[in-house]
Symmetry: C2
Subunit: 233 residues, 2 copies
C-alpha cells in the first residue's frame, strides 16, 4: 500500500526520503494559498525565491514582485502576501516572483522528490484527487514558521490524510498527530486556526479576512506544480 | 503570565530558549517511564549516557547497566528498558546507568535550563504540582524517535499542558497541537498510544504490558531531577 507521511517543518525534512515520492508543500498563511489563488486567476507562473534581491532581479525582467517580511509588504514590491491581491485583473497573464521565508524554503528543500505540488485548503480536493489516482507515495511538507511546526499547516496535513486514508497508509507519528488534529477540529477549521501563533502575530495587521479566506476548502480546482523552478498549473 | 511550550524532538531544541526555564524531559516508551519507576522503587540514582561503552565503564564502577538497542537488551547488560525490571528488589539502593538513544539525547540537549525534570504519565500529577508552585516558565522536551516527533511524547505534553493551563499560557503551535491531541484522546490514552509507530515497532517483542503500564497516570509521586549529571528524586 502506498504511504503518506508528514514533515512538520523544513528543519526535519532530512529525516524523510523523498526519492520517487510526490511532495505536497503547504504554507496556509499565506504563501501556498496565494499561489493557488493566483494560478486560478490566470497568473501564468509563480517563481518562489528566498531573497528579496533575487526577486528584484526578476522584477527587472518583467515579473511582478510579491512578498512580505514580518507581515508587511516589501517596499517597492508590486504585491504583498494577500490572496486577494492575486484575484485582481492586473495579475492575469503575468509571471510573479514571490519571496517568502517559510514557503520558499519548504519548496527548495523538497528537491529530490519525483514531483512537487502546492497545496492549500483552497485546492484540497484537487490535490487529493490527483494523489488518489497517482501511484506514488506522498510526503506532506509543512512550511511551518521559522523552523518550528505550526498549527494551520499541520491541520491541512491532517485534512489531506483524511481524504487519502482509504488508499494510503500513514507512516510516522507526525501523520497520526496531524490526522488527530484534523479529526478533532474538522467542523470548525477557522476556529482552531484563529488560535494559531501565526494568526495571533498577523492579527495586528487587520488581515482577518485573509486568514478566513485561506481556511476555505475547495474554492479552486487548480493543481499547481513546480516545473523547472516555476510553479505552473 | 508564565509560559509553557513544547519541543517535539531534540532536533528542534535549538529553536527554544531554555535559559531560566524548567525543562521536563519525556520519553514515554520507555526511558522516562523506567526512570520514574526506578526512583519510586528506591533506586539511588540513574545516570543517562548516550554510548554503550560509557555505560560499560560505569558498570565497572558498580553501576547496574541498563539499556536497549532496537528494542532488545544490550548483551552483557543487567537490564533492558522495561519498567518492570525497575520494580525488582535487586535494584534497590543501587545506581543505574541507562543508555538510550532518544531519552539520553533529550536530557543532554536540555543543558542550559535552570532545572531539568523527568516526566512520564506515571508521575504526571507530581510534575504538574511542582510546576504549578514554581515561578519559572516551562519547556516540555519530547525525546521523539530518532529525531522525529512521536505520538506518545506529544500526548504527554498535551496532558501536562492541560494540568497547567490555568497558570500558564501556551507559547507556540506545537503546544496547541499537543493539547488538542490530548483533549481528543484523554479518555483513551492507551487506545491512541497503541497506534503509535513506536508501539507498532515494539509490538513484535511481546511487550504490550510494558506499553500499557507506561500509559498509566499517577502511579507514582516521585519527581526525578537531574543533579550533577545524575537523576535523583
Amino acid at each position: 500500500m502506498r504511504t503518506i507521511e508528514v514533515c512538520l517543518t523544513p528543519d526535519l525534512i532530512g529525516q524523510h526520503d523523498l526519492k520517487g515520492k510526490i511532495v505536497v508543500v503547504v504554507d496556509i498563511f499565506r504563501a501556498t494559498s496565494c499561489i493557488v489563488t493566483g494560478l486560478s486567476n490566470e497568473v501564468k507562473a509563480i517563481k518562489p525565491v528566498g531573497e528579496i534581491e533575487e526577486a528584484k532581479a526578476l522584477g527587472e525582467q518583467g515579473y511582478l514582485m510579491a512578498g512580505e517580511r514580518g507581515g508587511i509588504k516589501v517596499p517597492d514590491f508590486d504585491m504583498g502576501n494577500s490572496p486577494f491581491e492575486y484575484q485582481k485583473d492586473d495579475v492575469k497573464g503575468k509571471k510573479v516572483v514571490i519571496s517568502t521565508t517559510n514557503g520558499s524554503q519548504a519548496i527548495v528543500k523538497s528537491e529530490g522528490a519525483k514531483e512537487i505540488l502546492i497545496g492549500a485548503f483552497l485546492n484540497l480536493e484537487a490535490v487529493a484527487e490527483y494523489l488518489l489516482q497517482a501511484k506514488e507515495s506522498v510526503v506532506i511538507h509543512c512550511a511551518g514558521w521559522k523552523g518550528t511546526p505550526n498549527l494551520e499547516d499541520t491541520l491541512f496535513a491532517g485534512a489531506l490524510i483524511d481524504e487519502c486514508a482509504e488508499e494510503m497508509e500513514t507512516t510516522g507519528d507526525s501523520a497520526l498527530v496531524a490526522h488527530q488534529l484534523y479529526i478533532a477540529n474538522h467542523e470548525n477549521l477557522f476556529g482552531i486556526a484563529k488560535k494559531s501563533s501565526h494568526a495571533e502575530r498577523l492579527s495586528g495587521f487587520g488581515i482577518e479576512e485573509d486568514l478566513e479566506f485561506c481556511m476555505k476548502e475547495n474554492e479552486y480546482q487548480v493543481l499547481p506544480k513546480l516545473v523547472d523552478g516555476e510553479i505552473v498549473s
